[in-house]
Assembly symmetry: C2
Homo-oligomer: 349 residues x 2
């Protein structure tokens, strides 16, 4: 069991639900663009948002961003500890420091004292791509080296009485990330922030993140997660939620049960599922929806799901709560009929 | 360590590399369409292909399909054991039987004897959606119930001296699937075929599959995998390979290291990565390609990767094998220059 760290009004660790994070990719000093992206992230289920702080303008923008949105804001700091001090002044709810590039113990202690005065936690975020040379083993990044880099920075923070710490150890490599987190989980009781860093674009990045984060969470390791994907960060939040839903750690909106379709399928399962998924994307209530192409597994899954379509040849039967509600609907109207039924029940009409 | 089962010329189990499978969704009796899809699956890296056998025409089509393609073909049988006998006659390299719907012990034994004569293995494929009522606990599918359903069918096969068996226990639910496979792995030494069944469309299905299959493989459980997704089955093979690559169990083609981009990024990482990924999709040689938006982690990752782009503001530096090879390339030409470099080296020109 990890200790609890408070970020704004969000609790991380200590058995609290695993928190979903993401990071904006707007220029932070472009306040309207950043605020708009933060709002989109919140709608998708993001609970903590990080912003890059590469310069003074970005640090100062945090004050204005926080006036517009209610989610806790984390300032991502590299190289220059003065940006951390400015971000704290601007009201950042958490700092992320990278021990690979703020190496002066005095500067780190100065930031810790300023954070402590404001009750703001610090994430010690070690990345394989920027780990300090002191922690390489024969020039290689190792799980032990990532752990040592984190422990070195933690000791500096603890040395000034600062314990409001979250830790992340990230690498592109899944086995390296998994092993490093297993090791640090045995060493400290600070909450762990999980992620696979730079995991690749689109599908490959999604798969690597799901495998790495999934393995650690299944072992009870990890208190907050951030999926890193290039492009629109809303995608990161969607993938993060699917990982948590897959492990039955948290619930949010529909879970779909769709057969992969084979030579038996009598309806376009993929097309119908996508249409239903889009139409119900704003629903937060947890429910299961099965869309199955034939009776082999379809009969069983239709009865187990909250709502279902069981395909015949060119038509389908609609189920709700294990019972047939509309026996024979033409394929073209299946998605629409199911969506209408679900929305009516969910909205209590 | 599981025992080894031979499917055509492919070995499953016993420490052999984890085998990638998929299933066609054409009408199997439409031989030209099925052959074309099988060929696309092979090009994507599929090593065993399953086809649905819902009728006699499908069973007989296996003979013609096998004349056209070299990959082992598995006949997927439900309800009617005579289709299994026909598929064996037609040259199927493996049978998949579902204990949920061929319940007559005498029929199962008859199929086993016919398979044994031809040296053809049988997969006992238990699915939560079609598990026989005898194996439900208070009407619910449980890990123990899935295991019992498999053991019941295995005992029938073993009773006639048949041991050429692969087992799969699949559910839509990841924890149920994971737990069932952990249990059966302790009970038997037959190779295990892993998958999350009916995991949902697109991204959700990809995430659920990666989490479930990833957890089991990371524990050393699983000898062959099939990702189940609606739509084009080539996608299943691509996701399966990414799972194996993420766990460093197998290698195939490029692994991408891409930063998620934040307010620091000076180039369009997602766009460049996608362009490079497409241009190199036919490469089978394992290599790592980093595409990074700024120097924070970019400098380290560029040096660690086989090939890299390290972004500046509107331009980038191209690295190969840890060294700068082209110092300053305008953003628009980055993808093209990198692709040219990689293709030249890979093709030895």
């Amino acid at each position: 069991m990890t200790r609890v760290v408070r970020v704004g009004d969000v609790l991380i660790g200590g058995g609290n639900p695993v928190v979903v994070q993401s990071m904006t990719n707007t220029r932070t000093s472009d306040v309207p663009a950043t605020v708009e992206q933060v709002r989109r992230l919140i709608r998708a289920g993001c609970e903590i948002v990080r912003v890059a702080v590469p310069d003074m303008e970005a640090a100062q923008a945090i004050r204005e961003i926080k006036r517009e949105v209610s989610v806790p804001i984390v300032a991502d700091i590299h190289y220059d500890h003065r940006l951390a001090l400015l971000a704290l002044d601007a009201g950042a709810d958490k700092l992320r420091l990278n021990p690979g590039n703020i190496r002066d113990p005095q500067k780190i202690r100065e930031v810790a004292q300023a954070a402590a005065e404001r009750g703001v936690p610090i994430r010690v975020g070690v990345n394989a791509g920027s780990v300090d040379k002191r922690f390489l083993k024969n020039g290689e990044v190792t799980p032990e080296g990532l752990v040592e880099a984190a422990l070195w920075e933690i000791q500096l923070l603890e040395g000034v009485g600062f314990h409001d710490i979250v830790i992340s150890l990230k690498a592109h490599e899944v086995p390296l990330t998994v092993e490093a987190n297993r090791l640090i989980a045995k060493e400290v009781d600070y909450p762990l922030h999980l992620g696979i860093t730079e995991p690749g674009p689109g599908m490959p990045g999604t798969v690597r993140s799901a495998v790495g984060i999934g393995i650690l969470l299944s072992e009870g390791i990890g208190d907050t997660i951030r999926v890193s994907l290039p492009g629109d960060p809303v995608r990161e939040v969607e993938v993060a939620w699917e990982i948590l839903k897959a492990l039955e750690l948290r619930e949010r909106g529909p879970v779909f049960v769709t057969c992969p379709t084979c030579g038996r399928a009598g309806i376009d399962v993929a097309g119908i599922a996508e249409e239903v998924r889009r139409a119900l994307s704003d629903i937060k209530k947890p429910l299961s929806i099965a869309i199955m192409g034939c009776p082999v597994n379809g009969l069983g899954e239709a009865k187990r799901a909250d709502y279902a379509i069981l395909g015949g040849q060119g038509y389908g039967t609609i189920y709700a709560h294990g019972e047939v509600v509309i026996p024979k609907v033409p394929e073209k109207r299946l998605a629409e009929e199911l969506v209408t039924l679900v929305l009516r029940e969910v909205n209590g009409i």
